[in-house]
């Protein structure tokens, strides 16, 4: 049953065809199976209790929480050794909101350590595998959440997105990943990676479910000064599939096959498939335009992201000292103890980010790197906002095709000639734009995704376009079938 959508499950619960207990039990059984298969969880809450079924669509239904959300009395590690035994005493606001809706968390999903990776290979509990093919990556950092939703453990799992951490795993796992406008969902209780980019969001198997869950998660929060009041926005109610007359654009430089002289067959198919999706939208009355953007501006996106995210991360994770929480380090003075805690606790990838971040923030480098990156971010965002004056949304393919093999995925912040195709989702974080990925094809028996990004506060519009496109394709509610 847990492979069904929220509305259907709610209907069955209301009609007493199933119970909340049944769903939770099934979800827990599937959790254990998927843990075996894909290593998708840090914690499975075997003692999860059912909740009364109410008018709320989410009541009584199980879901998963990425392990970088603070959950009261439940281990929250962010998949890091520095927090391997950390049990918080408060719930993240988004989790508290879902609790109030009657939703039942059944597991904490594994992730790239502190959200700082895109492969699912850096969790302290080991590599997270793609349920479509365990030899392949889920991407990251919301890897466990994506794997679990794709495997039908429950209808939805929480994710967080700093560069593409919801939207890329969603593409590789054949599901929907939605990152709403920055500040729509409170970040209180989300373990910080890069505060100006971090966004809470959700992974589901349909656009409808994404709208329902974000409706429940969002809201002005006195504990997050960057949150805003969206009480007049009803995402689920606003889904009507009417997109006739909408104007979309894609960035020519990113999609043009001519720019990829070494394109693989997968990439060629992926781009062809992208155009097929555009054709569907055209048939719905959507006007689509290829827009050219200065390649110099596009080229800097990955480095701007690295500069800003590493700089903020260096500072944000300075609270990890092992003094107040986390395993106490050894040493004959407090600085030696902090150093020992951090040396042993963090994986090499994270340390590398800290070194980069520190270097960028150093007095003598700040102007060149940090301030430079901030300026570039502003230019990119201004360009996008200018385009959003004319167009309703940006549409682009996600990544270069389906999930890569784990053997080949080295998360080392490297870039190559397809970097732009891999990294363009970061634009969504630069501007705090609402951005959604939905599955739009199957290549070599593996799913691929397409992304729609709109202007800030235009979440309803973005969801609606995705909703209309989804309805004309066959990838809604897709679940990996166990052989």
């Amino acid at each position: 049953m847990t492979e069904l959508g929220i509305v259907k499950l709610h209907e069955m619960l209301i009609n007493k065809e199933i119970t909340s207990e049944d769903l939770i039990k099934e979800s827990l059984i599937k959790s254990h199976k998927l843990k075996e298969k894909c290593n998708a969880f840090v914690t499975i809450m075997d003692d999860a209790k059912s909740t009364p079924v109410t008018d709320n669509l989410l009541s009584g239904i199980p879901y998963g929480i990425k392990d970088n959300y603070s959950t009261k009395d439940i281990l929250s590690t962010a998949s890091s050794n520095t927090l391997k035994d950390y049990v918080p005493f408060f719930d993240a606001t988004a989790v508290a909101n879902l609790k109030a809706a009657g939703a039942v968390p059944v597991n904490k999903t594994a992730m790239d350590e502190f959200g700082m990776g895109g492969t699912g290979t850096t969790a302290h509990t080991g590599i997270i595998r793609n349920p479509w093919d365990i030899q392949r990556s889920c991407a990251g950092s919301s890897s466990g959440s994506a794997a679990a939703v794709a495997a039908g453990v429950y209808p939805y799992a929480l994710g967080s997105d700093t560069g593409d951490s919801i939207r890329k795993p969603a593409a590789f796992c054949g599901i929907v990943g939605f990152k709403p406008t920055y500040g729509m969902i409170s970040r209180y209780g989300l373990f910080a990676f890069a505060s100006s980019l971090d966004t809470c969001g959700v992974l589901t198997r349909s656009v409808e479910d994404a709208a329902i869950v974000v409706d429940a998660m969002k809201g002005l929060d006195k504990n997050d000064a960057t949150s805003w009041d969206s009480s007049n926005m009803h995402l689920y109610e606003s889904l009507n599939g009417d997109v006739s007359g909408k104007k979309l654009f894609y960035i020519k430089e990113i999609v043009d096959i001519e720019n990829y002289p070494h394109a693989t067959d997968e990439l060629k198919q992926h781009l062809e498939n992208f155009h097929k999706s555009l054709d569907i939208l055209s048939s719905l009355g959507v006007e689509i335009t290829a827009v050219s953007i200065d390649k110099e501006l596009l080229k800097v996106i990955p480095s701007v992201y690295v500069c800003l995210s590493c700089a903020e991360a260096t500072s944000n994770l300075s609270n990890m000292t092992g003094i107040i929480f986390g395993p106490r380090g050894k040493g004959d003075n407090v600085f030696a103890m902090m150093k020992d805690h951090r040396t042993k606790g963090f994986s090499p990838l994270i340390k590398r980010r800290f070194v980069i971040g520190s270097y960028i923030l150093q007095k003598e480098n700040q102007e060149r790197y940090f301030v430079g990156a901030q300026k570039a971010r502003r230019l990119i965002v201004d360009k996008m906002k200018e385009l959003f004056n004319t167009y309703d949304a940006l549409i682009l393919p996600v990544s270069t095709g389906p999930a890569p093999y784990l053997d080949n995925s080295k998360d080392e912040l490297n870039s190559d000639d397809t970097a732009l195709l891999e990294e363009h989702l970061q634009i969504g974080n630069f501007g705090g734009f609402p951005s959604i990925t939905i599955p739009n094809g199957i290549i070599n028996n593996l799913p691929v995704g397409i992304n729609i990004t709109g202007n800030v506060y235009d979440d309803i519009n973005v969801l609606n376009i995705a909703y209309a496109l989804e309805a004309k394709m066959n990838y809604k509610d897709m679940v990996v079938k166990d052989e």
């Binding site: 918080p88 209780g189 300075s318 107040i324």
Partner: protein
């Protein structure tokens, strides 16, 4: 050696009063119980975020305006990154790029002359936790962590320890007058960093600056400066000025000396950047004007008013303005109609003695100016003597009843006819005692006085009573 000039700059940290801390909901209050005023953010638990206490912003702008500083168009914060066990987040939220006030000044009176002290900037930040070091361990108290702190930086424009201390005292008063801080050094609410250098008086080149960190009383500021001047002077006199290094030192209270902590090369790079969790917000002219209206007359202006309008001497006026509660009490006295001289004398005399004896403040003092007026009016009407006034003052305080109740009871019966009638009555009721008195028991005289007092509830004029009694008994 040429005549030397001393150049001093101060950094004054002052804890602000507020209900809650500057970025968390924990209480901001002096608390003996360690780790009691603590919210999750104060210990930097993962996922916690700062939120801004608007009251602190208002107070920061208030002080900035009172110091004639320029206030920026936007209010925002920066992170100052460094590792230290008293700083759980690993960074302090402060203002580096756009402090809440720049380029201000304050005028101080010192040793008979006035001086304009230039303010480089004043900014709002959070305090760190406090550490207690023991031989085998250190304890951390997070009560202080996140307490709003104002850091004020002067230009290097002070030229003696006296000037530095006079400035700090004036600033303390200003904080208190604006109700921005209790500014109590005993509670550790004020801490200073002092920059000291010496230079040839006729030179235009500043000498090598030495910073003395974390000096926590004004007496220590004076001592630290004087020690440092002496140290630098001696080195210069002996031709060893090159040994004066740009460095950070600390003041050692026990020896009264300064001790080296670190040199310039070890200076920390704080990697400042804009705090992303607190959005910039615009300081509108409307908001500024609403705050401007709240600036009261500052201590020095009040002093001038007392001298010019009330004819107090400089010394008298200085005594009154030393403490805002005093100045407020004094002005309230004048407003209720008490004359300046009486208000001054009572405040500096009886009231001050009483406060000291009972270790209370004017806020806790029962006799408010309107009550005091009851006593002073009674003196002026000759209803009571000044000796009685003192008694009424004490009686009022010991019973917590308005002085007027004791004044009406105290109104003496001084009418001779009335007294004679009362005394005649008493005598006719005590024939036995009269006989005994006449037979030599002269101490019974006091018995008769007592009876009169009893009859009049103590209001009989004692001198007249005795005269009449003597007349009647000895005839």
């Amino acid at each position: 050696m040429n005549k030397q000039k001393v150049v001093i700059g101060l950094e004054m940290h002052c804890e602000m009063t507020s209900n809650s801390k500057v970025f968390s909901s924990a209480r901001n209050s002096y608390n003996e119980l360690a780790n009691d005023n603590v919210a999750p953010l104060d210990m930097a638990f993962p996922g916690t975020l700062p939120t801004l206490n608007k009251e602190c912003v208002r107070k920061a702008i208030l002080i900035s305006l009172a110091l004639k500083c320029q206030v920026p168009k936007y209010f925002y914060f920066d992170r100052k990154n460094y590792y230290y066990p008293d700083l759980p987040k690993g960074y302090q939220i402060t203002q580096m790029h756009d402090p809440i006030g720049v380029n201000g000044y304050v005028i101080i009176d010192t040793n008979g002359y006035e001086k304009k002290v230039l303010i480089h900037d004043i900014h709002l930040e959070e305090d760190s936790a406090s550490l207690d070091h023991y031989s085998d361990a250190s304890l951390i108290d997070y009560n202080r962590c996140g307490v709003p702190l104002l850091e004020l930086v002067t230009e290097p424009c002070l030229n003696s320890a006296d000037e530095a201390v006079a400035f700090l005292e004036e600033m303390r008063r200003i904080y208190q007058y604006l109700d921005v801080s209790e500014a109590d050094t005993k509670k550790g609410q004020i801490r200073c960093d002092v920059n000291v250098s010496i230079m040839d008086e006729d030179s235009h080149t500043l000498g090598t600056k030495v910073e003395i960190k974390n000096v926590n009383s004004f007496a220590n500021v004076r001592e630290a400066i004087n020690y440092e001047i002496k140290r630098q002077m001696e080195l210069k006199e002996n031709g060893r000025y090159n040994e004066v290094e740009q460095e950070t030192r600390r003041f050692d209270e026990e020896s009264g000396t300064t001790i080296r902590m670190r040199g310039k090369v070890d200076a920390i790079d704080y990697k400042y950047f804009v705090e992303p969790n607190l959005p910039k917000y615009k300081i509108t002219d409307e908001y500024l004007n609403s705050i401007k209206k709240d600036i009261p007359l500052l201590p020095r202006d009040r002093k001038l008013k007392y001298i010019n309008d009330y004819n107090l001497t400089n010394q008298e006026a200085s005594l009154i303005i030393k403490d805002k509660e005093y100045a407020d009490y004094f002005e309230e006295c004048i407003n209720t109609g008490i004359d300046v001289k009486s208000a001054y004398n009572w405040l500096i005399g009886n009231i001050t003695f009483y406060l000291k004896d009972n270790d209370i403040t004017l806020k806790e003092f029962f006799i408010i100016p309107t009550y005091l007026k009851q006593i002073i009016d009674a003196i002026n009407n000759n209803t009571i003597s000044s000796k009685q006034a003192k008694e009424i003052f004490n009686e009022s305080l010991s019973t917590n009843k308005e002085p007027k109740f004791f004044i009406s009871n105290n109104t003496q019966v001084s009418n001779k006819d009335e007294l004679e009638t009362i005394i005649d009555n008493i005598l006719s009721n005590n024939p036995k005692q009269i006989e005994d008195y006449k037979n030599g028991k002269t101490n019974l005289f006091d018995y008769f006085v007592g009876q009169v007092m009893k009859e009049t509830k103590g209001k009989a004029n004692p001198v007249m009573t005795k005269e009449i009694l003597k007349d009647k008994l000895d005839c």
